[in-house]
């Protein structure tokens, strides 16, 4: 089945997975807060690397053109502390993601949300803990 690409330009509040890095790495310098890519594709690679994790997703558009999206997350340590590990997403899985486009290289994007095709309600690599919600 051919993967389907939809690119939407949407104004959204920024609640991306890359937030922990924003203070140091200038999110708004690098990424377009107003340009949100929404696409479906197949995970080709996951890098549990420093300083930040990257998930690569191959997306084929209606004309058959393939684009590999390089999605930046926060540090692998922060993701692990949320309880995720390397078995939670692997190459070959079909996913749908939303991400903020890179200002110059659009396919280098800051991941906002990612779900698997077979579990569309479960966001991968995200979690909300009490202190993130402001209880302290």
């Amino acid at each position: 089945m051919r993967t389907h690409l939809t690119v939407m330009l949407t104004v959204l509040g920024f609640v991306g997975l890359i937030a922990p890095a924003a203070a140091h790495h200038g999110f708004e310098t690098e990424y377009d807060n107003d340009k949100v890519i929404s696409a479906s594709g197949v995970v080709s690679k996951i890098e549990w690397t420093n300083p930040h994790m990257h998930v690569y997703v191959d997306v084929t558009d209606a004309a058959g053109k393939l684009t590999t999206y390089n999605l930046e997350l926060t540090s692998p340590n922060a993701i692990q502390r949320l309880g995720w590990n390397k078995n939670d997403l692997v190459a070959g899985e079909k996913v749908t993601f939303k991400a903020h486009a890179g200002k110059v290289v659009e396919s280098r994007a800051a991941l906002d949300s990612l779900v698997k095709a077979n579990a569309p309600k479960q966001e991968i690599f995200k979690g909300q803990r009490p202190e993130d919600l402001g209880s302290n």
């Binding site: 922990p20 790495h25 310098t29 420093n50 390089n70 890179g102 800051a110 402001g134």
Partner: protein, 323 residues
């Protein structure tokens, strides 16, 4: 006439008493009485977590990336007793979160907005303005050390280095931000080397001593490359810092920080930072920052070749990149 005077005095007295009472109530809402902990500080984002030298210790309450792995400042465990080492000194190990500068050293250290900048000498102020305008000028984002007094939003710890001679070293380790280096604080009584022979370095030369329960760290020999905070508050190689680390309870470690730099600031600067203990089970993890640093590539500021020139990974450039 006399009755009128007495009546007026009574009315005025009542009004004065009422005003005093109202003022006391307002004070009570703003700051807890001496010795009281757990109350709110001067604003809703601060909380009083203890006392040090008769002054309340204020813990900033931040959300999100800051203190994300620390226990809540309202957790009763915060006020537990200070753990002690076998030799009786307080155990400063941690791990901790916070306790240093990051986004604005002056404000984070307890000064008013802009107060720190007002102490910058003209050349230093100009340098900071240039740095603030620069895109990706900060050494830290290229995985270079952040140095003192910076603490980024990840756990860090002191490692108390005992040998057969007792406590000879204290090491300060950061999960991130130290670029894999370790900061060593000599506790063996040695002095700083002759300034004429000292080669400037990222972490400088640190000697430590106990003053009662306070670990005092004196450091000279810094290079001028690292930034005190993200906007680029600068310093020179004449920087001299004194950190006074006091664990006032199980959950709180205070860093009273003095910096002197006659080439940068018009007078010594006194700041206070507060670190919070992490939750049980949180340990420092491996973090090799230079492994896959793709900073600047999405925004088109650095190409792979630029990144390689300054010694960072740069990350893969994909043949199917969409521009």
């Amino acid at each position: 006439m006399k009755k009128m005077f007495v009546l007026s005095a009574a009315v005025i007295g009542t009004i004065v008493l009422l005003l005093v009472h109202l003022q006391a109530q307002q004070r009570g809402q703003g700051a807890p009485a001496a010795g009281q902990t757990g109350g709110r500080g001067a604003n809703a984002n601060e909380i009083v977590v203890g006392q040090l030298a008769g002054r309340p210790v204020i813990q900033p309450v931040r959300r999100g990336v800051d203190y994300r792995d620390a226990i809540s400042p309202t957790d009763p465990a915060m006020n537990g007793p200070v753990p002690r080492l076998p030799d009786g000194h307080p155990d400063l190990t941690g791990p901790w979160e916070g306790g240093g500068s990051d986004n604005d050293m002056g404000v984070e250290g307890g000064l008013k907005e802009g107060e720190l900048d007002s102490l910058l000498l003209p050349a230093a102020r100009k340098l900071k303005e240039e740095r603030s305008k620069a895109i990706y000028g900060e050494p830290y984002i290229y995985c270079l050390p952040m140095s003192v007094p910076r603490i980024n939003p990840y756990p860090w710890k002191f490692v108390m280095g005992y040998t057969s001679k007792g406590l000879q070293y204290v090491y300060q380790l950061h999960e991130t931000g130290d670029a894999g280096a370790h900061r060593v604080i000599y506790m063996d009584g040695r002095r700083h080397p002759d300034p004429a022979t000292l080669i400037a370095s990222w972490w400088g030369h640190s000697v430590g001593r106990w003053e009662g329960d306070t670990l005092v760290i004196d450091t000279v020999g810094y290079n001028d490359k690292f930034w005190f905070d993200a906007p680029g508050t600068p310093h020179s190689e004449k920087l001299h810092t004194v950190e006074r680390w006091t664990r006032i309870s199980y959950g709180t470690l205070v860093n009273d920080f003095t910096l002197e730099d006659p080439d940068t600031f018009s007078k010594p600067v006194q700041l206070r930072f507060v670190a919070r203990i992490v939750k049980p089970g949180v340990e420092l993890m491996e973090y090799i920052c230079a492994e896959n640093n793709q900073i600047g590539l999405a925004g088109g500021y650095l190409g792979k070749s630029d990144a390689s020139q300054i010694g960072i990974g740069g990350g893969p450039v994909l043949k199917d990149e969409k521009k």
